[in-house]
Amino acid sequence: MEETKKGTVTSLSSVFPAEEAQKAVKRVQDTIADKHSELDSLRGFVADNNNLINLVHKLPEQLSHDIMVPFGKAAFFPGRLVHTNEFLVLLGEGYYAERTSKQTVEILTRRGKSLDSRVDSIEAIIKDLQAEASFFNATASEALEGLVEIREDYVEEDCKQESKSGPLKQPGPDFGKTTADDQQYALMMSRLDELEKQEELAAESGNHSDQNEETTSDTDDISYQRPTDNNLQSSQDFRQGMLLDQTKSKSVATEIPKKQNHQEDIADQLNFASLSVQSKVQEKENVSKKVRFVDEGEKLVHPEEKIVKATTASKSEVQHQTSQTSFDSRKAFTGSIVEHAENIKTTPREQSSTSSQVSGSQPKKPVSRFRMQRK
């Protein structure tokens, strides 16, 4: 029923007869030939202009030049050029200006530039025309081959029905392949929808730490390019911090709001956290080792190193709070601040912001892929 009114099939040769297309090709070729001759004459002008520039440049080198002075078009007198540095240049509209050799050369170079631009424009036109000709040629050959044009109006309702009743639909003999593809596509889409729904449900029911842990570990590999940079900065901060307590805490405090765009109170909290990090750094061997590792390491922190650090951090630290925050803070402070986030009792706002950050920063694809793997 629907297939009957679905579309129209017109052979290309009925719309564009081959002879017509070939005629068009010929016409375009003629135009191209015209433009080519125009281009040639322009090129001639350019060459003349360049010769003249050279001539004008050289003439003042001598006081006079022996030449044949033209007398009319068919006769000459033997004579010589005098006042070789006084040129009379036509400015247009019958006005002439007396110029020196140098000034004349300037005028001529300006003329040359305008000629060059004209040459360029004609070349561009020729290129366009050649593209047109090749298009007409292609059309002609396609028309000769008996190509058909299938035109189908897009209807919103049809689309919906297709997605719902796609698999049940009886495909027409001509469109069998495409509908089969559509079926597959519809199946895939419904599967994806399902997965997304499950994802949403999971997000609503609260972040299970183990799940998130896996998520982060999954995404760690992917989203490392950005963290390494931050890591570098923060590692430098740490280095400074070992020497100067105050500057360290300040620099971290300034860095956090920049990076995470948190509210000021959170920044303060983190500031406090970083201060305590400072004290803990000296206490905790594991963390200090890490810091030293960063210290010793070159500017380039490889992703592999980063992973090692991340795992050590997750091992050494008690995983009470959400690992999402730990992941985020690890980005910033090589994982040491995580400990203190638990002291602060991460506010829901922060959590939401971090989670949103995570979802924003991480491409959706890997997560869903992971989910698919879990199924």
Partner: protein
């Protein structure tokens, strides 16, 4: 019968359009070139006569270097003039010799123009002949076109 006639008419028309008319155009272009030559030599003759009349012995003029850039030039001695005799050859003449040559050249050019005019007229006549033939084949009345020609 009709088909044959149609074919003939088409052949004649093709002959007119693809052979006679291009020939005519070519002949006219050639004649125009000769007209130009005639003008050049007429100018030269006038100029030389002018120089003779004013008994000019030296001359200052502006030389076009191309692209309408002029430079002053001096001719110290105007007694000898080099005239283009065709095929890129120039012959050194005195004024009187030059005037003689120019007179002969003008004569020849006039002859050439006459020839070309004849040629053009004959081509035009042929075109008209063929068009008449087409009219005859189509059996159109003579009156209209011949009347037009009278006026």
């Amino acid at each position: 019968m009709d088909n044959i006639r149609q074919e003939k008419v088409q052949r004649y028309e093709e002959f007119v359009d693809k052979r006679l008319k291009p020939d005519l155009q070519h002949a006219i272009a050639q004649r125009d070139k000769v007209f130009e030559q005639q003008k050049i030599f007429a100018d030269l003759r006038k100029n030389i006569e002018n120089l003779e009349k004013n008994s000019v012995t030296s001359l200052r003029t502006m030389v076009n270097l191309g692209s309408e850039v002029y430079l002053q030039a001096e001719v110290p001695n105007t007694q000898h003039i080099f005239v283009d005799i065709g095929l890129g050859f120039h012959v050194e003449f005195t004024w009187s010799e030059a005037l003689n040559y120019i007179a002969k050249r003008e004569e020849k050019i006039a002859r050439q123009i006459e020839e070309y005019t004849q040629l053009i007229a004959s081509i035009k006549a042929q075109i008209k002949l063929v068009l008449e033939g087409i009219r005859e084949i189509l059996q159109l009345p003579v009156g209209k076109s011949s009347q037009e020609r009278i006026f």
